[in-house]
């Protein structure tokens, strides 16, 4: 089984979260830890790069729901980028495009943050 793995880095004052592998009920807590840490460090501008994500389950989607409000309350946001059509379909099916911004490219998403500020 492909493992899950998550790493964060900074790109022009925006925090990019890279996801790899399988994000499901089993691995969701790892992503949760990352978001908790971002909030602790008062880093509220987040772009999640889905380029290397192979699978996402609804528990994985739940993590984004759980943290997006805090980010937005602090003038930040969670934006998504580099999503494969397969992954995007899942987000689309559950109505996420109404509530989140999706970008083809990480650079675009990062720029969007910096435009505003």
């Amino acid at each position: 089984m492909v493992d899950f793995n998550v790493e964060t880095r900074e790109n022009s004052h925006v925090n990019v979260v890279n996801l790899h592998g399988y994000l499901d009920a089993h691995t969701a807590p790892e992503l949760e830890d990352v978001f908790t840490k971002l909030i602790d460090d008062r880093k509220f501008k987040v772009v999640v790069n889905f380029e290397n994500l192979a699978y996402i389950s609804s528990a994985g989607l739940g993590v984004f729901m759980a943290y997006v409000e805090t980010m937005r309350e602090n003038n930040g946001d969670i934006k998504f980028s580099n999503m494969s059509p397969k992954i995007y379909n899942i987000f689309d099916l559950l109505g996420f495009p109404l509530l989140y911004e999706f970008y083809k490219d990480e650079k675009e998403a990062v720029q969007k943050f910096n435009e505003k500020s």
Binding site: P29, E32, S58, A59, M65, A66, L99
Partner: protein
């Protein structure tokens, strides 16, 4: 027919063929309707046109328009089609709201769109630029156009429906796979808090909810497992009988008692049940996308909740089983300690028969007895009952034995030795622990016994049909350091005398009716003894107690020590 008419007919025909090819190449409704309108515009030189189609509920709704502003189109009345076969009549067109709309915006002609299943909708066209009426030929042409379009419209509607079905199917599949994944995941987790987190993530991810709470119903009241609602909500929850919610409740069904919850933002309450009993609740706030919770959503949450609560319950049972096992291991240790403290073999003393037995209870009480030969003529017998049960009692018992073994060989008077033992036990026990204790030294030369009774059930001396209770001594061991010295008593013994030492496990042995064996029963049994050996006496008392108890659970140790003077 003149050549002009033939040309016109040819043009019409080729226009129709083009139109047919064109719109049947697409399944996009907008594209089809737009082309229908544009073709009419080109043919009749009108600048206004609308298409209304029948929805599932039998109402005509505007689907496409050209030559009108959005505001104008907004005025289009919704029409209840009279019947499927006859959607728009001259009558309806001339009178009513529709007629008014048409007159206002110079819509002068309409044509029903008919397909195999009846009326599909209506095409409306505005007045022609040349102000001419629509001729019968024109109407026939529009009729043909609309017929061609009807098939395309029907096909596209069918495709839309399929797409919608597919989407709903996808959504069901996604719910099912979420459930499947969770059931796998839940079964492996033994921490309720982790189960709660997973439950929350799955539900909020699937349904786009950002406010939630998961509470468990415990004997001590509601316990919050996960929550992202104002604190006030949880207080409110404790006030109303939330645990009595037994079916999913939407806000409008909350009733008076739960009304406050609704005002705090709770939209949905779903019970987590095991065999119909509510063990917990899931509370959810508004959906981010402003949609209502559908019946299938509620089913999903209920199913997820059931999985979670079963897992939480299993975790609880597992923990309990583990604790029980640990306790049993503890008791096994206690039993081992106790067993090793009892003498392996009762020493023989001339002129006396000595027998003893201990029947350990399940919980291991703190009974203790000992028989120690001090020299050729003297033998120490002792019996005690340590307060408490299990390992702590067994350890205190072991302490007592250690003190006793070292002190009895010092050649001290028994009463002084008791003073010391009491001091030692007092120093070495935690508050509230004590020992009832009796010991005596049998002297085979003098045919006597010197004893001290430190608060133990008085042993019985049976002689010639009389019972003498051995009560001299002092207070129980371990309560306080010796302030009043213990006293001893020496009694002469005669041939045939019987001594019965016992613990309260004998006299307080209980039958199923919660009746005790009692001192009286033991005494009357003792008086009935005649020529039995010490061992036979022991067996007789045991048998009598067993008969009385009649299979009820033994709650305390039973210890007996009997002496027969020969």
């Amino acid at each position: 027919m003149n050549s002009y008419d033939i040309d016109a007919a040819k043009r019409n025909l080729s226009a129709l063929v083009d139109f047919s090819n064109f719109i049947n190449s697409s399944l996009d409704l907008k594209f089809i309707l737009s082309n229908l309108l544009l073709t009419c515009f080109g043919k009749f030189h009108t600048t206004r046109g609308l298409v209304a189609l029948m929805d599932e509920d039998g109402r005509l709704r505007l689907k496409a328009y050209k030559g009108l502003t959005q505001a104008m189109a907004g005025e289009f009345p919704e029409i209840e089609a009279a019947s499927k076969s006859e959607s728009c009549t001259e009558e309806a067109f001339n009178s009513s709201a529709l007629g008014e709309f048409c007159r206002k915006y110079h819509i002068t002609y309409f044509q029903n769109i008919v397909c195999s299943q009846g009326i599909k909708g209506v095409l409306f066209l505005g007045e022609r630029l040349n102000k001419k009426e629509y001729s019968p030929d024109d109407k026939a042409f529009v009729g043909t156009l609309v017929n061609i379009a009807a098939t395309a419209i029907e096909n596209s509607a069918f495709i839309e429906k399929l797409k919608d079905l597919n989407r709903r199917l996808d959504s069901k599949v996604s719910m099912l796979s979420a459930l499947f994944e969770l059931s796998k995941e839940f079964s492996g987790i033994l921490e309720p808090s982790r189960v709660g987190k997973l439950l929350v993530y799955s539900v909020i991810g699937q349904l786009l909810v950002s406010n939630y709470a998961v509470v468990l119903c415990t004997p001590e009241g509601l316990k919050v497992l996960e929550a992202k609602f104002p604190k006030k909500l949880l207080e409110t929850l404790n006030l109303c009988n939330a645990a009595e919610v037994s079916t999913p409740l939407r806000k409008e069904d909350f009733g008076e008692e739960l009304e406050t919850l609704g005002s705090l933002g709770v939209e949905l309450i779903i019970p987590m049940q095991i065999q119909g009993e509510t063990k917990g609740l899931i509370l959810l706030g508004k959906r981010f996308n402003k949609e209502e919770f559908k019946e299938s959503d509620i089913e999903f949450i209920y199913a997820t909740g059931s999985l979670a609560i079963i897992s939480i319950e299993n975790a609880k049972l597992f923990k309990e089983a583990l604790e029980k096992q640990r306790m049993e291991e503890d008791l096994e240790i206690a039993r081992d300690i106790q067993k090793n403290l009892f003498p392996q073999k009762i020493p023989a003393l001339e002129g006396f028969e000595i027998s003893a037995v201990n029947v350990s209870s399940k919980q291991v009480g703190g009974d203790y007895y000992d028989v120690i030969k001090l020299n050729d003529s003297d033998c120490l017998i002792a019996i005690g009952d340590v307060s408490g049960k299990g390992v702590p009692a067994a350890l205190l018992m072991a302490n007592l034995q250690a003190f006793l073994k070292s002190i009895c060989r010092q050649g001290l008077e028994l009463n002084r030795a008791t003073d010391i033992i009491n001091d030692l036990v007092s120093e070495n026990t935690a508050m509230g622990n004590f020992i009832t204790f009796f010991w005596g030294i049998l002297d085979s030369r003098a045919k006597s016994m010197t004893y001290v009774n430190a608060g133990h059930n008085p042993p019985l001396l049976i002689r010639g049909g009389q019972i003498l209770k051995l009560t001299k001594g002092g207070m129980i061991l371990g309560v306080i350091k010796t302030m009043v010295p213990y006293v001893s008593e020496t009694i002469e013994l005669q041939r045939g005398d019987i001594l019965i030492l016992f613990t309260d496990g004998v006299t307080e042995a209980m039958n199923r009716n919660m009746e005790e064996f009692t001192d009286e029963r033991l005494e009357s049994l003792a008086l009935g003894l005649k020529n039995e050996s010490s061992d036979e006496i022991l067996q007789k008392i045991r048998a009598e107690v067993e008969k009385f108890v009649n299979g009820a659970n033994q709650s305390d140790d039973i210890t007996l020590l009997t002496v027969k003077v020969k």
